[in-house]
């Protein structure tokens, strides 16, 4: 079959739910879910996943789009699944007034923020929950977002529960002299640890997603870096507080996926993920579940124990705060096997698909964490316990992005002229790039093109399949100057061989 035909075949499947992936969520009682309608307050791939999850749960939805996204796959899917009346053009995805007005007009009873935009905005969550016409915010309750969305609060809470955190300040520092004192202590501490090149990290306390972070290697330069980060933080986040921490080199970035229901009493985990392959700007590019593969690879520490520890710590914190929806505990694990909690992401994450792919509930696969999020968010009890959840195999997610890895991962914009890949039962392709090409990548958003989730019985098979997928990928396009489309496919391929190695 020519590549083009394969593309069409793959493309046509993009807007359908594969039979084997039908969630067991559909088996749940729909008493609580009945009479709900969800506003999908996001765009692109995540909007499509939410719509599909709504389809699985038989919940109607309304979707939004902006003028720049008129050709996006999420608009086409909304039109196809929900009909023209389920789709509203808005001026911006960032405008809370727009979203709530559309929700009212469409008769929605709940808002799903996806990730990004309003997903971790406790003010928006509070507004949705407390306005005259109340709705359900599908995510943790606003108090929990406020509590754990603040890195400093999280760090303090963790320390109070003896959960290890990165050495450094546990409150925002506003005073330059104090900042210098803390930095000096951290430099000295690293010296005592025998670290040959001590580094201190200066982070905007209100920042996130890798923004507003700089490192200092020379204590003499600390002051200028501190001032630069402080000014950036003030400009970007309206808060000049900074955190000062030890910069841990040579670490793996792990995550623990937590799911709980509205009681906040029954958090369970859906395993760990490893997100260590990132861009230079500390943005994730490849994610793997589980977080380590101690059966297949050798580590200089007890990897199984590390995974058990971070899961136990994450659950302990989740229970303490009464965590009541999906969330991710993010960890640094050093080469010595020391885990440190970094932060908690109080939302569904891009990479939830890899955890879902290897999970089974009561032996049944096809787990959909977004459907679980919706179901529990609307008030259904979780309905299973930790011992009902099992894991099998390895799953890798590749974030395919139009960008130039060789040029500091700068985004690329232009027109996609062809986009195809070889379909396989072990591959789940999530993309908002429509079947009908050319497609102009909107310059208003990050140029994410697709998430490719590959499954294998072990790390070797998953890696081989990942490479096979990337080899089959055909992606071409050009920009206004005639230059060819740039993507990170080669970077993803080059890094496939080092997945889960430490």
């Amino acid at each position: 079959m020519p590549a083009g035909d394969a593309a069409r075949d793959s493309g046509s499947a993009r807007h359908e739910i594969p039979e084997q992936e039908k969630s067991l969520s559909t088996a749940h009682s729909d008493n609580i879910l009945r009479n709900h309608k969800i506003l999908v307050a996001n765009r692109g791939e995540i909007a499509m996943r939410i719509m599909r999850a709504c389809g699985r749960l038989n919940i109607p939805f309304a979707a939004v789009y902006t003028a720049e996204d008129a050709a996006s796959g999420h608009v086409l899917l909304a039109r196809g699944e929900g009909g023209e009346k389920s789709l509203f053009r808005v001026s911006s995805y960032h405008d809370a007034n727009e979203l709530t007005a559309v929700a009212d007009e469409a008769g929605c009873t709940a808002v799903h923020p996806g990730y990004g935009f309003f997903a971790e905005d406790f003010r928006f969550a509070r507004r949705v929950a407390k306005r005259d016409r109340k709705m359900i915010f599908i995510g943790p309750s606003w108090k929990i977002i406020r509590e754990l969305g603040d890195k400093i609060n999280t760090k303090r809470l963790a320390r109070s529960l003896d959960v290890p955190t990165v050495p450094g300040s546990d409150r925002p520092i506003y005073d330059e002299m104090e900042a210098e004192r803390i930095a000096k202590t951290i430099f000295e501490f690293q010296g005592q640890q025998g670290i040959s090149r001590p580094l201190v990290l200066v982070k905007a306390s209100a920042g996130g997603g890798g923004m507003g972070i700089e490192e200092v290697y020379d204590p003499e330069l600390f002051r200028s870096v501190y001032r630069r980060v402080r000014n950036y933080a003030l400009r970007q986040f309206k808060d000049e507080g900074v955190l000062i921490e030890q910069r841990i080199m040579d670490f793996n970035h792990l995550e623990v996926q937590i799911v709980s229901d509205r009681t906040g009493m029954n958090p369970v985990h859906f395993g760990t993920r490893n997100c260590s392959i990132q861009s230079t700007g500390l943005q994730k590019r490849i994610e793997v579940a589980p977080g380590f593969a101690p059966d297949a690879l050798e580590y200089s520490f007890d990897a199984r124990k590390v995974l058990d520890d971070i899961v136990a710590y994450s659950l302990k914190m989740a229970r303490t705060v009464g965590y009541d929806n999906v969330g991710t505990w993010e960890w640094i694990v050093t080469r010595k096997g020391d885990p440190y909690l970094m932060e908690v992401n109080t939302r569904i994450q891009v990479e939830n698909g890899v955890s879902a792919r290897i999970a089974k509930i009561r032996g049944q696969g096809g787990v959909d964490l977004i459907a679980e999020q919706i179901r529990t968010g609307l008030g259904e009890p979780l309905g299973y316990r930790q011992e009902d959840i099992s894991f099998e195999g390895v799953s890798i997610e590749y974030r395919l992005i139009a960008e130039e890895p060789e040029n500091n991962f700068t985004p690329w914009a232009g027109q996609i002229e062809s986009f195809s890949w070889k379909d396989a039962p072990w591959l789940t392709m999530l993309t908002h790039v429509p079947d009908k090409l050319p497609y102009e990548i909107p310059t208003e958003f990050d140029p994410n093109l697709a998430l490719a989730i590959v499954y294998g019985k072990d790390i070797q098979e998953a890696g081989e399949r990942g490479a096979a997928f990337l080899n089959s990928l055909r992606l071409t396009g050009s920009d206004g100057t005639g230059a060819n489309l740039k993507s990170n496919a080669a970077f993803l391929k080059d890094n496939t061989g080092r997945i889960l190695y430490f």
Partner: protein, 215 residues
């Protein structure tokens, strides 16, 4: 050479422009007391501080937002079918027939006579710091450009790349991009006037100023 009279005659034969007033955001529409054929005024005053004729109110989340006529003109069409209904962002509300002003005529003619350097991609554009400094100190017409010189910074998503000007040498006569606003591919960035055309362009501007009457 430029045939100014021909250009002016062309515009005089159809001196109107249709303006579609659209909903800036979602909301419920309530039309003001306006009728098709009625004349409306655009914003008035030295700083356009006085709003134009109210066309409708767009209410969202209990915040009523009046929508005013953006220019002088005559109402051609009112989308009455939307009255009292919830509209999406970008929905057309009212269509105005606007008679071109002197400045607009001048702009149209200049676009036909100047050398227009187009945006190579949809992006935000800025002048380089050197050019920007000169423009702020006096104005754009004080900046002489040469073929191949670095004149712009093109900002696309998180990437900023320098952009060289290509075209005839001359002065920047018109600037068509706005700070922090995306420009579509092919849209003119600047209008360049070669030195030998400067006198003709000035004559053209004078003629428009004297010959075009505004009502």
């Amino acid at each position: 050479m430029l045939d100014i009279s021909k250009l002016l005659d062309e515009i005089k034969s159809s001196p109107y422009r249709e303006i579609t007033v659209t909903a800036q955001h979602t909301g419920k529409i309530a039309f003001a007391e306006i009728e098709t054929g009625a004349r409306v005024r655009g914003p008035q005053g030295q700083w356009k501080e006085m709003p134009g004729t109210k066309l409708c109110t767009l209410e969202r989340e209990r915040n009523p937002k009046p929508v005013y006529a953006p220019e002088n003109g005559e109402i051609c069409r009112i989308h009455r079918e939307l009255d009292g209904r919830f509209v999406e962002a970008g929905s057309p509300l009212v269509v105005l027939r606007h008679k071109l002003t002197r400045d607009e005529v001048q702009r149209i003619i200049l676009q036909k006579t100047l050398y227009l350097f187009p945006a190579p991609e949809r992006a935000k554009y800025y002048f380089t710091p050197e050019a920007d400094k000169k423009i702020r100190a006096s104005d754009a017409r004080s900046v002489t450009v040469r073929n191949g010189m670095e004149l712009f910074i093109m900002s696309r998503m998180k990437r900023e790349v320098p952009l060289n000007y290509t075209g005839p040498d001359g002065v920047i006569y018109e600037v068509y991009f706005k700070y922090n606003k995306n420009l579509d591919v092919g849209a003119p960035l600047v209008g360049i006037c070669p030195p030998e055309h400067l006198r003709a362009i000035q004559t053209l501007v004078m003629r428009v100023q004297t010959e075009w009457t505004e009502t």
